[in-house]
């Protein structure tokens, strides 16, 4: 009998050599790809352009480097609209539509396209077996959003909406101030938000009430509860609004004045005035806050760190910019929800109430006075601002 010198035991597969830490610059030790035991990467499809995806790029880069995702396709309807995104991710291929992207079921598509494209693109994604994360607004109206929700449920896929302010340390701090009245009850809120779109693609055909309006309404409702609408006016004269003004009344008789603009840069400022202080936040620096305490001689401005404990021997470090990134926090939550590791923190149903509020605003809109118009121009502007059936020309 021949004795084989070749072992009949199956050899264990060779472990790949661990990658040196400096091959993932910018990542902490926790973020470098684990060699064994880490969950498989989720395939990701990006639908939009570099401009509309800009806020998510740092998070996407980090998550791909960490092996949590693999960006497999970039969908853009404009020729060459996806080229810079494709170059950014080594596995990504360009596709002219969701239907033509070569990606397996179970993937996540991030819809950073214009809101009027969301229903069709989300429907196509669900049919492919993908989950969907749309940038806000989810849709252009509450009924449109409900239709998308129903389609997601029918296909048993997740539908999430990007509301990164809900993951922002600054906004959550304000939320606690509102709920717990740490510097007294809230007295009033003043918001100025919006900027002109940088290019035709980024602007789309939606007005200021949709972008940034729906996001603003969600943020305020998240902090203070649902409001009553006292008034709404904008400057649409047969088209869509470039400027809008809302006056809301929140629970406990807290008035809010909101100015939205896609016409001219605003301060992008959210000011909450309390009985014993003022808190001011801006989406430009979501992880910081300005705080004025009562009659203190100066305001504080800064980012966040774990709460202080009197007499503690050590003080925990503040989160890094990457860790504190609200866009990353939301993306990670969606990935965890897909893998059933955590519930979805911001399901799409949460976004419907803000859309319904925007619909209610439109139903009672009046025209903003534009004082540089002549009398005749103002009369005609008022006529054009009415629904067609009510006009008498």
């Amino acid at each position: 009998m021949r004795t084989s010198t070749h072992s009949t035991k199956r050899r264990a597969p060779k472990k790949p050599a661990p990658e040196p830490a400096d091959s993932h610059p910018g990542l902490t030790a926790d973020e470098t790809p684990a060699v064994r035991g880490s969950p498989p990467a989720t395939d990701v499809v990006l639908a939009g352009s570099a401009a509309t995806m800009a806020d998510y790029m740092p998070a996407l880069r980090i998550l791909e480097s960490a092996g949590a995702i693999r960006v497999q396709a970039v969908v853009s309807r404009e020729p060459g609209g996806h080229s810079s995104l494709v170059n950014e991710f080594r596995n990504a291929r360009a596709a002219p539509s969701v239907d033509k992207a070569v990606v397996a079921p179970g993937a996540l598509v991030v819809l950073a396209s214009l809101p009027h494209l969301h229903p069709a693109q989300a429907g196509a994604a669900f049919r492919r077996g993908w989950h969907v994360l749309t940038l806000s607004p989810l849709a252009r109206s509450a009924p449109e959003a409900m239709t998308m929700l129903a389609t997601a449920q029918r296909h048993e896929r997740l539908l999430a909406v990007a509301l990164p302010h809900r993951f922002s340390a600054g906004v959550n701090y304000i939320r606690v101030l509102c709920h717990d009245q740490l510097i007294g009850p809230l007295i009033r809120v003043d918001v100025h938000d919006g900027t002109p779109p940088a290019a035709a693609g980024a602007g789309g055909t939606d007005g200021a009430l949709v972008e940034p309006g729906v996001g603003v309404l969600d943020l305020l409702t998240w902090c203070m509860g649902p409001p009553e609408i006292e008034s709404y006016a904008d400057d649409a004269m047969g088209g869509v609004e470039a400027n809008a003004s809302l006056r809301l009344m929140f629970p406990e008789s807290v008035p809010a004045a909101i100015h939205l603009s896609r016409d001219w840069p605003t301060a992008r400022s959210y000011e909450f005035v309390f009985e014993r202080g003022i808190a001011r936040w801006t989406p430009r620096r979501p992880e910081s806050l300005q705080l004025q305490l009562a009659s203190a001689p100066a305001a504080l401005e800064g980012s966040f760190r774990p709460a202080l404990v009197a007499g503690a021997a050590t003080v925990p470090d503040a989160a890094s910019a990457a860790e504190a990134d609200p866009f990353r926090a939301q993306l990670q939550n969606v990935l965890d929800a897909i893998a059933r590791r955590a519930p979805l923190a911001v399901p799409a149903a949460d976004a419907v109430s803000a859309l319904a509020m925007a619909d209610a605003c439109r139903a009672r809109r009046t025209l903003l006075r534009q004082p540089w118009l002549s009398h005749n121009e103002s009369v005609h502007a008022r006529t054009l601002s009415m629904p067609i059936g009510l006009r008498r020309e």
Binding site: H192, P196, P197, A198, A199, A200, G201, A202, G203, T205, G207, S231, A233, D235, A236, M237, G238, G239, V240, E241, A242, N243, S245, A257, H259, S261, R262, D263, W264, T266, T366, L367, L368, R369, Q370, P371, W372, L373, S374, N376, E377, S378, H380, A381, R382, L384, S385
Partner: protein
């Protein structure tokens, strides 16, 4: 038949569309550059025809079924000649009857003149010489194509959505406004509605103009007048405006600020270089007169500034 307006998102273009669409009830086609946002135009339900501002064929398609085409600027000195030629050829190709080209006047580079004195052509830097060349090419191409052409030269167009008004308002609010030579230099501005009035005259006149006409406000105002009126209309203290007897900045901080802020540097350059403009030729050829007074124009501009700061009221 429609009136095509290029540069519809600019200070002049947006105000012109408001005036034509709301005031005259005219049928308007907005022709933005292909990649430009169209936020202001989108307030109306009007024909939107994006085109390449330097592409004759692209513009020709945008001008189809239009009786008139109006170029409201927005191109750089580098592109001025190309866009003027493309505009003229497109107007001819689309059989537009009237083409109106709104052009900024040449600004002399030298600061050796007395304030307010007219400048000679040889003083102009090459960028502005190319603007004058663009006007000549435009007129020549239109004549060749059988289009009735008008060139309107303006000073600094101010009014709603004017970067000048915004910059002065910001300077005053942030207490960094300053005036070289105590602001005594002539302000060569024209309120936007006065330019619109001149354009309306060009759309109706039977006259054939072979040379550019200058359109300006009636009054002789100074830069000091501009700053002080804006400060007054916006309830900002006049004492926030610093001034120097020479063209130099006030103190080190202001010098650094002026050097690093391109818009402030541009405003400083405008203050130092612009001559007083006279619109006698426009009055004679078109019957133009500046219907909106300078102080009224500044007041309306400040009303617009308050509007975009969120200080507005519902229409009555």
């Amino acid at each position: 038949m429609k009136i095509a307006v290029t540069g519809p998102e600019s200070c002049l273009g947006s105000r012109l569309i408001e005036a034509l669409h709301l005031g005259d009830g005219a049928s308007v086609a907005a022709v933005p550059a292909s990649e430009s946002p169209t936020t202001l135009t989108a307030r109306f339900s009007i024909d939107l025809r994006p085109a390449d501002p330097c592409g004759a064929e692209s513009l020709r398609k945008a001008f189809e079924r239009c009786s008139s085409a109006i170029h409201t600027g927005g191109t750089t000195a580098l592109d001025a000649k190309r866009s003027a030629i493309a505009f003229a050829r497109a107007a001819a190709g689309a059989r537009v009857r009237r083409a109106i080209y709104v052009s900024s006047p040449p600004v002399p580079a030298s600061d050796s003149r007395e304030p307010g004195a007219a400048a000679a052509m040889t003083d102009y830097p090459s960028g502005e010489r190319s603007q004058a060349a663009a006007e000549r090419q435009f007129l020549s191409e239109c004549r060749r194509g059988g289009v009735n052409a008008f060139v309107i030269r303006t000073g600094i167009v101010y009014g709603p959505r004017s970067p000048l008004i915004a910059e002065v308002a910001m300077e005053l609010r942030e207490s960094r406004a300053w005036l070289p030579r105590h602001g005594a230099d002539a302000f060569s501005g024209v309120y936007v509605d006065n330019v619109v009035a001149a354009i309306r005259l060009c759309l109706k006149t039977k006259a054939v103009l072979t040379e550019p006409v200058v359109v300006a406000d009636a009054e002789t105002a100074t830069w000091r007048d501009v700053y002080h009126l804006i400060a007054q209309d916006l309830d900002l203290s006049g004492s926030r405006i610093r001034s120097t007897p020479s063209g130099a900045a006030v103190g080190q901080d202001e010098a650094r600020s002026a050097a690093s802020n391109a818009q402030v540097a541009h405003l400083v350059a405008l203050q130092q270089r612009a001559p007083k403009l006279e619109s006698n030729a426009a009055a004679k050829a078109l019957g133009y007169h500046a219907a909106v007074a300078f102080s009224d124009g500044i007041r309306r501009s400040c009303q617009w500034w308050r509007f975009v700061q969120g200080e507005f009221e519902p229409a009555a």
